[in-house]
């Protein structure tokens, strides 16, 4: 509407015709459109200011790595290369029994081309869906009670639904005491890789289908 004219009169100053209607030359938006877009943008910013922090708050644990814990499980002399000794360690402190897990520890055996000074700590977390496996002396096998997964003495899968060998814990000796550290997973050839959840394959193309999570520790160098 021209300010200088009353309705029904010819405008005193002839303005260019709006073409298309509502748009003058050089304009890409009508006034109404500008205000619509602006108010929507402000609303969007306000919503994002609330939603983004909340979402970040909820997904933050995906990007946080916990403290590296090492726990002493007994003097070196307690462990042999012939059989496993059962030890209990705390993986997650502060939640009582739920944060504890069992591991089977032995020293390296020549039979499996291992250094005699090595300490091998096998996790009891089944590589199928995470039930606790048990080492059966008579059979020299690890057996899972849930779905019948069976692993040999080294922890390699020999039966049932598991998709990879049993996980292991990093080990070291400090002042004559064996210490267990972060967990890592292994391939079928027992090569150390970054820890996976149960049910996930290791090695080959699976390294890409199950990408490494920022919340886990890198594997020990082989």
């Amino acid at each position: 509407m021209n300010k200088n004219s009353k309705p029904g009169e010819e405008p005193r100053v002839k303005l260019p015709e709006a073409d298309p209607r509502g748009y003058f030359e050089g304009e890409s938006m009508t006034r109404r459109h500008v205000f619509t877009v602006a108010s929507q943008a402000i609303g969007g910013v306000a919503a994002a200011a609330v939603v983004l922090p909340v979402v970040g708050f909820a997904v933050a644990p995906l990007f946080e790595r916990g403290e590296e814990r090492w726990e002493a499980v007994g003097p070196v002399e307690d462990f042999t290369d012939e059989t496993y000794k059962q030890v209990v360690i705390t993986e997650t402190p502060g939640i009582g029994e739920a944060g504890k897990t069992t591991a089977y520890v032995r020293t390296g055996a020549e039979k499996y081309n291992e250094e005699p000074n090595d300490i091998i700590a096998v996790s009891t977390r089944c590589a199928h869906l995470g039930c606790p496996v048990r080492f059966v002396q008579a059979a020299q096998n690890f057996i899972c009670p849930c779905h019948g997964g069976v692993y040999d003495f080294e922890g390699k899968r020999i039966g049932g639904p598991p998709v990879r060998p049993l996980d292991r814990f990093q080990t070291r000796v400090r002042g004559g005491q064996v210490e267990l550290g972060p967990r890592y997973s292994v391939t079928n050839q027992l090569k150390a890789v970054r820890v996976r959840d149960p049910g996930e394959f290791t090695g080959g193309i699976w390294e890409f289908l199950y990408p490494p999570r920022p919340s886990t520790f890198p594997p020990p160098s082989n």
């Binding site: 995470g130 039930c131 959840d197 919340s215």
Partner: protein, 352 residues
Amino acid sequence: MKLLPSRKKKAEADGSENGEVEAVAKPTRGERAAQAKQLATHHGTQSGIDVAGWVDSRTNATGIFTAMMSRHVPKGTNWFYTLGSATMFIFAMQAITGVFLSMYYTPSATQAYASITHLTNEVFMGEFVRGLHKWGASLMIILIFLHMARTFFFGAYKYPRELNWVIGVVLLILTTVMGLTGYLLPFDQRSFWATIVANNITASGPVVGPYLADFLRAGPDFSATTLSRFYALHMMVVPGLIGALIGAHLFFVVKLGTTAPPWVRAGRPKGSRPTEAVAAGVAVEDLDEVAVNGAVTVADAEPPAEAEVDAAEAEEVEAKPAEETEAETAAPEPAEEAAEEASSEEDGEVNS
């Protein structure tokens, strides 16, 4: 929502008798205005202002309630149609018992089991309230599947109700999420290991699985945050979503109406001819004077006396055009259709 024809007439009659009321609501605004007028007559102008009427005239609560509870349902509606409501009432029961259980429950990994033991064994009626919640959870899943089966076998998922099917499937998934998150809360051995397994199943999905599992657990391992996270999902997030979606589900039920069972013959819109009629050269006018049965039929809410009169009229004035005979309430079938319908068990309900 439409008023029933008889009430609509009554409302209009009231309005024309009372001159004052016409200023309150214009008769041209249709049924809702007629209804408001009726309310004003009852609660405002004549009997003074009472609280219920005051609220009602501002919210139309009675109108909404009437539209929901006295809506038209198809001929053949039966007990199978109550499964959805049954599921909703179980959800209400779960919500109520859940809120009260939370008064004694402690979502902490070290105290959860002790609080559940205390609740079950020492709190008055604790075992009963917890039992309701526990068994209600299973019952809700069973009812959902029965409701879903009814919808499927009656073809009630078809146009225009596809969106309601989709909402229903989302509700089913959310209910299973409730089952998953609620299972951990007692925090006994079974809860704990079932959750470990469920998390690892999540993790075994390629590419996104590991991250989803990390999100659920709030970290690479089961931790103190896992339990409170499951508790928050179980108490706040998922029930809120379920409540909202039940609202949407109900809205569509009221808006679109329900379907007739498959053994009730589908209705024919006025002014259309079925294929047989087209082939036989029967004119629309000749067809429309008879009943339009099935999904669009109204057989439930009409006062019996009036319905009988209508039926009698319809039989008497067969030559008249369909609009005048109120054909939807009741009328004779064409011979071949009547023969088919005679075997139907629902046939007796036509004139109610």
